[in-house]
């Protein structure tokens, strides 16, 4: 009966679409997830529902997967971690990563304006796009993703499906940025707009996954000592960058917004 706990959640939803609806009711968006490599058991551990919610969710899934109820009632996986508090507060180093997302989201918010401008004027502002790529590579990738890949992920199992999905997202985003650079060089507005939109869609979903699932999952397991250690490693990593990072990238976003927001 508990076999489906070890089943990939995507195949399970394909076989029983109502399972996806049940998960959505509990704020678990496996239906929309692009990867879906997690097992159902891992999904429940990642989201750390309060025990009574986890038990009720399992009961509802069991009614769908095994309507005759012929087997044993499934048990929600137990976790050594405490249940998630009603309002989750990130530890200071993880909060730092969440705050950095805000600047990236502000860039993503202006991409539709940029695409409209390219489509209506049929002119590619190469300087602006090169500055945007510099932000993506210098801030989103080097300043932010570097801390995730080189430091944060040391505090969890890198083979966990959610971490693998995040790393794949980083690679896919780098691919879109290469395509954006190529489109600018070739003055190909159509390819440029398509890749800007793809980058925006990918990063929007990626940031939600990190803020709502991955970061709380890692944060809950950190000891006080690890929080301090991670903070110092972040400080050390940033001290190796140019002195005007991140301020110059924050200025770029402010200027970008003033260009498009009247």
């Amino acid at each position: 009966m508990n076999d489906y706990m070890q089943t990939g959640v995507k195949p399970l939803i394909e076989a029983f679409p109502e399972v996806g609806q049940v998960l959505e009711r509990y704020g678990i968006a496996c239906v929309q997830c692009t990867a879906g490599t997690c097992k159902l058991e891992e999904v429940l551990q990642l989201h750390a529902l309060p025990p009574q919610d986890g038990t009720e969710l399992m009961r509802q899934i069991a009614r769908i997967v095994d309507p005759t109820g012929s087997a044993l009632q499934p048990q929600a996986p137990t976790s050594a971690e405490p249940p998630r508090p009603v309002q989750f507060t990130y530890s200071p180093p993880v909060q730092r990563l969440v705050d950095e997302h805000v600047w990236i989201v502000r860039l993503l918010a202006r991409i539709p304006d940029l695409v409209d401008e390219i489509n209506t004027s049929d002119v590619i502002d190469g300087d602006l796009l090169r500055a945007m790529v510099d932000f993506i590579r210098g801030y989103a990738d080097r300043f932010h993703h570097m801390k995730e890949e080189d430091i944060l992920f040391d505090y969890t199992d890198r083979e966990t499906p959610i971490v693998q999905v995040i790393l794949q997202d980083h690679e896919q985003a780098r691919g879109y940025v290469r395509a954006i650079v190529g489109a600018v060089e070739e003055d190909d507005g159509s390819a440029l707009c398509a890749n800007l939109v793809r980058y925006r869609e990918l990063l929007t979903e990626h940031i939600t996954k990190e803020d709502e699932i991955l970061y709380p999952y890692i944060d809950r397991a950190l000891t006080t000592h690890q929080v301090g250690e991670m903070w110092q490693r972040f400080e050390g990593a940033e001290s190796g960058l140019e002195a005007d990072v991140p301020q110059k990238y924050e200025r770029f976003i402010t200027n970008l917004e003033s260009r498009f927001i009247q």
Partner: protein
């Protein structure tokens, strides 16, 4: 006690008696070893150069905290170096502030956990710690734990 004196009484000093309530259930079997790894413990007396503060996770506890919590050593002191102080009765608050700043900058402590009682005057210790860390060149994470007078953890969060 006059009506006026009730209104002006300090909530932190107000008398409460819970001796007639049943003792909370718990495992009282066996003995538990002390988790204290240093001496002295008074913030006024500790020295930031002490080896047990170097890169340590430091617990700054209000004086009353350890008396309120049944398992202070096991659940909170273990793994930490300790300093204790009273934000209400302790004299020389500026000395406290300078000492905490020195713990951050000279001992390069890893984290600072501030445990206070729920009574309003005790929050001063957290404010003192935050301002001391702000004055420091080095920055570290600060965690706040608030303890109820019945020995329960009411609130715990990173600042």
């Amino acid at each position: 006690m006059s009506h006026a004196s009730v209104r002006t009484a300090c909530p932190g000093s107000r008398m409460r008696d819970f001796s007639d309530t049943e003792a909370q259930a718990g495992d009282s079997q066996g003995t538990r070893p002390s988790q204290l790894c240093q001496w002295p413990v008074q913030l006024y007396l500790v020295g930031p150069a002490a080896p047990y503060f170097q890169n340590a996770d430091v617990l700054l506890a209000a004086d009353c905290v350890a008396y309120s919590l049944g398992d202070f050593h096991k659940d909170h002191l273990a793994g930490h170096s300790l300093a204790i102080a009273c934000p209400k009765l302790g004299e020389g608050q500026e000395i406290y502030r300078e000492k905490i700043t020195a713990l951050v900058d000279e001992a390069q402590i890893n984290t600072l956990t501030v445990m206070t009682m729920q009574v309003p005057c005790c929050v001063g210790l957290l404010h003192l710690a935050k301002s001391a860390v702000e004055q420091a060149h080095h920055k570290i994470p600060i965690k706040s734990k608030v303890v109820g007078i019945r020995g329960e953890i009411l609130h715990e969060e990173w600042c």
